[in-house]
Point group: C2
Chain length 226, copies 2
């Protein structure tokens, strides 16, 4: 299925140490990232870096894949679910997603990948996308399908419903964070945003029968107070 990146990713413990140092450097030093700095920060020789990762891009790619490999989370097995369970899981997803895109590591990696995407062809952006958007899609879409199968949701294309959910959850948060804006995103705000997004999503795609949309507009309006 997946897989944009040929994923063996069998990094040795020492290599993992180095890649963690790269991540730390990206987060803390932002743009002032260089191979020499990585070597110094990780107490590692440049020659070893080049032997292991080939070149600068290889190091970046390995770092992104390393981070991707450890974000992988549980299955959220969505067997039989009733309406309130569905809402709960949607909120859970929204909280998870907002937490991820607001995390310093995610922001740093996205900044690097975006910078790379500007010049020439590299598949860094693809890897980040596969780790972020596609990973959450792989977990959320089964939930949406299960919700539809149980009669709680109504939509024609899972992808479209999924993208609308992403839009309702994230809105313009990620791009603002990437640009250095700091919309306060503490845990309280994230929880409230998740609640609102789930409410709005159910108002749009919930079925009448499940009573899930009943308080739709009123509640959505109320929740948007934040």
């Amino acid at each position: 299925m997946s897989s944009v990146h040929s994923n063996d990713d069998a990094f040795s413990p020492r290599q993992r140490e180095v890649l963690d140092a790269v991540l730390r450097l990206m987060v803390e030093e932002g743009d002032r990232f260089s191979v020499a700095r990585v070597a110094r920060a990780a107490s590692c020789s440049k020659e070893t870096l080049y032997k292991w990762f080939g070149d600068r891009d290889g190091l970046l790619g390995a770092t992104v894949r390393w981070q991707a490999s450890r974000v992988r989370v549980g299955d959220y097995d969505s067997g039989r679910l009733n309406a309130s369970q569905l809402r709960e899981k949607l909120e859970e997803f929204a909280v998870n997603w907002l937490s991820v895109i607001a995390s310093p590591t995610s922001l740093a990696l996205n900044r690097v990948a975006i910078g790379q995407a500007g010049s020439g062809n590299s598949r860094l952006g693809d890897i980040v996308l596969a780790n972020g958007r596609l990973a959450v899609a792989a977990r959320l879409k089964p939930l949406l399908d299960a919700g539809r199968a149980a009669g709680h949701l109504s939509f024609d294309h899972t992808e479209e419903a999924f993208r609308t959910f992403l839009g309702l959850v994230g809105r313009d948060v990620q791009i603002r964070l990437l640009l250095g804006d700091e919309p306060s995103l503490d845990k309280k705000t994230i929880a409230a945003d998740a609640k609102r997004a789930a409410q709005q999503f159910l108002a749009l795609f919930g079925t009448e029968k499940s009573g899930i949309t009943e308080t739709g507009k009123a509640a959505a309006s109320r929740l948007s107070a934040n």
Copy 2:
């Protein structure tokens, strides 16, 4: 009113030529942007660039402000409007917004600003934000308020309704484009997306009285077929 950036922006014709060359270079050469390249592309000496803009960051800032100054568009005076006019204007906004964030110029500027935001402090991100998000907010919020005043819309906080609209319109398009993904965004797709977003927005925030939400869920589902 506006203004994050102290806006005199009285660029001479020759300076405007140079700044256009910078934009062209950003779009075409992506990341391989340098002062020497700008000078060559614009048939202009580096010394002049430094005299005019101070340093590299000044040149970047001037370029962003120059682009911002000419995106400024009409008022969309939203006096009395009926339900169908409201929907029409919402779609118009959505088309405009999607066209902007998908344009090569916007993508290039956002990439530069995001790269800058990673390292140290510069207000480039603020300027881009002020040009993009805040500019469209300044035009859209009066429309939303007018729609509420006319009884067609119902929400407590204009900012929240506005952000939800942005989310419904843009979804994950901008970040995907920034990362080098290419979700096909021809004029047909943009028009369809705008229609869907307006439909969903009205389903969430429209009042029953105006009959604007009547076909809400059904139509939203149908439109999501793309």
